[in-house]
């Protein structure tokens, strides 16, 4: 596994590899069931949870439908607060802006708050090419970075690793990146955390530039918000002289009060906590306190494409809580790497095609099919994203994007089925061959079904034939 997702195999192939890894499946099943139970418990404590979900969805929907106004307002308020606002259409532009700022300060390293958007644009790799080391300071991100691995979960990027694996990574890799792990390192969680703390402290105190994302950006006040559990984020946001925040344009909310439902929905949905241990807010520059130069990079990178999709745009409401990952039976068995993106699980299955478009990459086109449409994701989504409906709509877009060429066997089968199902007489004629069909399927059918599942026996006659023969059971049913 290397540090990039580019060129990943299509989902079913990537999933096969994960399914064969029994340690991975054990780690995942244990972790997701633990988080699931925690979330269910704290959500049940809130008597008006459904109303809170509606309020959260409404906050994001209002901002998205008025996005241009809100973003212009955000730029004004941030600028008035002393921040410098940059606009980036794509990953390359955003990365160039961040690298330029670091270079202007002759920085050869930056410390990072865990952020999905900087993962999305491959910022660490882009900075490395410019000779700038980007250090992840979130414990799980540190594990992934040191292990030269890929994140496999939005909230818990190292969910696929167990304690013993983490100890081995720290022992073998920490030294090359900075302060080495102590010789007597065990796999006790407290011992591992202490080693990470020592390793990171050196970096916090040395860094001139901090890089963050933001969970929310308030247009009215020019305030950026980061919620976290470890406190490392607050160190990055307050210690360095220069702060660069990369913010997806969908993170904007109109008003200060809009934070109320969001900050209640997010921790309960993501970590199963009532409140986040750390909620940091910054609005430009405060003289003599914290960073004295603040840059905000507002990033599109496919978001206006998603916004133009009437069914899919609701995915931009996502607050990256990862509740959908933790309840998804597909994610639980395949893990996050199979999705080939920093956004795995059900939300990744719709977000990647929405941001990147379908019809030009088999890996992306396979994602909307990486779901049994069981609906558990919609049930837990704090902002009510109807993921199953978006998945079905995305599948239709994938099929439509491939119409016109040489039809695949599946397309021919669907056309054939539509022909048969147009007239009950055609269906009836075909049903008389059901027994033959089942015998054929048993012998030559797709091993995708028969490899591990038996087929049922075909009945002697179809329901419609029985109905005709017996007048719906009124005549002798011998």
């Amino acid at each position: 596994m290397t540090g990039t997702f580019v060129g990943m195999p299509v989902f079913p192939e990537a999933a096969r590899e994960a399914l064969a890894d029994s340690q991975l499946r054990h780690n995942l099943a244990h972790a997701t069931s633990t988080i699931r139970a925690k979330r269910a418990k704290v959500v049940a404590e809130v008597p008006d949870w459904e109303e809170l979900r509606l309020a959260g969805a409404a906050v994001k929907e209002r901002a998205l439908l008025d996005l241009e106004t809100q973003l212009v307002r955000l730029e004004e308020t941030l600028t008035a607060n002393g921040a410098t606002v940059h606009w980036a259409r794509d990953a390359a532009e955003a990365n160039a802006i961040v690298a330029g700022i670091a270079k202007a300060h002759a920085a050869t390293e930056v410390v990072k708050v865990k952020s999905m958007v900087t993962q999305e644009i491959g910022l660490n790799e882009a900075l490395a090419e410019e000779g700038i080391a980007a250090w992840e300071t979130d414990l799980a991100e540190l594990i992934v970075q040191l292990g030269d691995d890929l994140p496999s979960h939005i909230l818990v990027p190292a969910i696929h690793r167990n304690r013993a694996e983490i100890r081995d990574i720290f022992r073998s890799k920490m030294g090359a990146a900075g302060r080495p792990a102590p010789d007597d390192l065990t796999d006790e969680p407290a011992v591992l955390a202490a080693a990470a703390r020592e390793h990171l402290r050196e970096k916090f105190l040395r860094a001139k530039v901090g890089v963050s994302g933001a969970n929310f950006a308030v247009a009215e006040t020019g305030t950026l918000v980061v919620v976290e559990s470890e406190g490392n984020g607050r160190m990055c946001l307050t210690l360095p002289d220069v702060l660069v925040s990369v913010v997806g344009i969908e993170k904007v909310v109109a008003r200060w009060e809009d934070l109320d439902p969001m900050l209640r929905l997010l921790p309960r949905s993501s970590t199963g906590e009532r409140m986040n241990p750390y909620t940091s807010m910054w609005s430009g520059i405060a003289p003599g306190d914290g960073p004295q130069e603040v840059h905000v990079v507002l990033l599109d990178n496919g978001r206006t494409r998603a916004l133009a999709d009437e069914v899919g745009r609701q995915a931009l409401r996502c607050i990256r809580c990862s509740a959908c990952l933790n309840v998804c039976p597909v994610y639980e068995r395949t893990g996050g790497h199979a999705y080939g993106s920093v956004y795995p699980g059900p939300i990744g299955a719709i977000l990647n095609p929405l941001l990147k478009g379908v019809g030009h990459d088999d890996q992306i086109d396979s994602l909307p099919y990486a779901s049994s449409l069981c609906g558990a994701c919609f049930e837990v989504c704090p902002v009510r994203i109807d993921i199953p409906s978006v998945l079905v709509d995305q599948r239709a877009q994938v099929v439509d994007a491939h119409r016109g060429g040489v039809p695949k066997p599946e397309a021919m089968a669907m056309k054939g089925a539509a022909y048969v199902l147009k007239r009950s007489r055609r269906l009836s004629a075909l049903e008389r061959l059901t027994g033959l069909g089942m015998r054929f399927a048993r012998r030559f059918g797709p091993t995708a079904w028969t490899g591990a599942r038996d087929l049922p026996d075909a009945p002697g006659e179809s329901f419609r034939d029985w109905w005709q023969r017996t007048d719906g059971g009124r005549k002798d049913d011998a």
Binding site: F11, P12, A15, R16, L19, R25, P329, V330, R333, T334, P368, Y369, A370, S371, S372, L373, C374, G375, A376, F378, V392, D393, R395, A396, Q397, V398, V399, D400, E410, M414, K415, A417, A418, L421, K422, R423, S424, L427, E431, T434, P446, A448, W449, G451, A452, R453, D454, L455, P456, A458, P459, E461, S462, F463, R464, W466, W467, Q468, G472, G473
Partner: protein, 246 residues
Amino acid sequence: MRVALMVTCINDALYPSTGQAVVRLLRRLGVEVEFPQAQTCCGQPMVNTGYLDEAVPVLRTFVDAFAGYDAVVTPSGSCAGSARHQHSIVAVRSGDEALQEAVAEIAPKVYELSEFLVDVLGVTDVGAYYPHRVTYHPTCHSLRMLGVGDRPQRLLEAVRGIRLVGLPGADECCGFGGTFAVKNADTSIAMGADKARHIRGTGAEIVVAGDNSCLTHIGGVLSRQRSGVRTVHLAEILASTEEVTR
């Protein structure tokens, strides 16, 4: 009240006994159900695979078959969900306003069997007798697309002679998911294997559900494992009496 039976394509071709059980059950409860011969399929296999254009002619057939009834009852949560929530998408895609109106007229009248019994007929004790140890798997579309709630359990609890045992992880998907079972076969089988393990752990002789499609997948895994556990549709348990025990 004119009631139509929507038997579903999979029941029609592979599980006629489920349709027969619905007829027997409803007749016993005083409802004379009609079977519109023109019906074929709800179109869900096409819709869920992304072939919306191909679903349009199938939807026209559906609408022609079921127009004019007071209620359409079906022994499938998935197909009822398709009619109630997906047909409007297909109708809009067709651009045919008459089709959209027909869908708006029929969709709210489509009931999954347990909904029809509890909500429309107002019964939970249907006079059934079934002396077996049974565990119930709530299928995802019944549970989340339709929200049938505990209606199937209430119907089962009223069955005489039955020993209902709880299923651990009951609300987790069995892994069928239509074409998902073939397109992502490995993941589907892994999910099915976990479902089968939970079912076997209950010691039940029978696993019951309101969808024969899910039961085909679950039963396929259980059969390959030579588990001895049988799959039976909810309708067939509710139709059973002391005179006719299946």
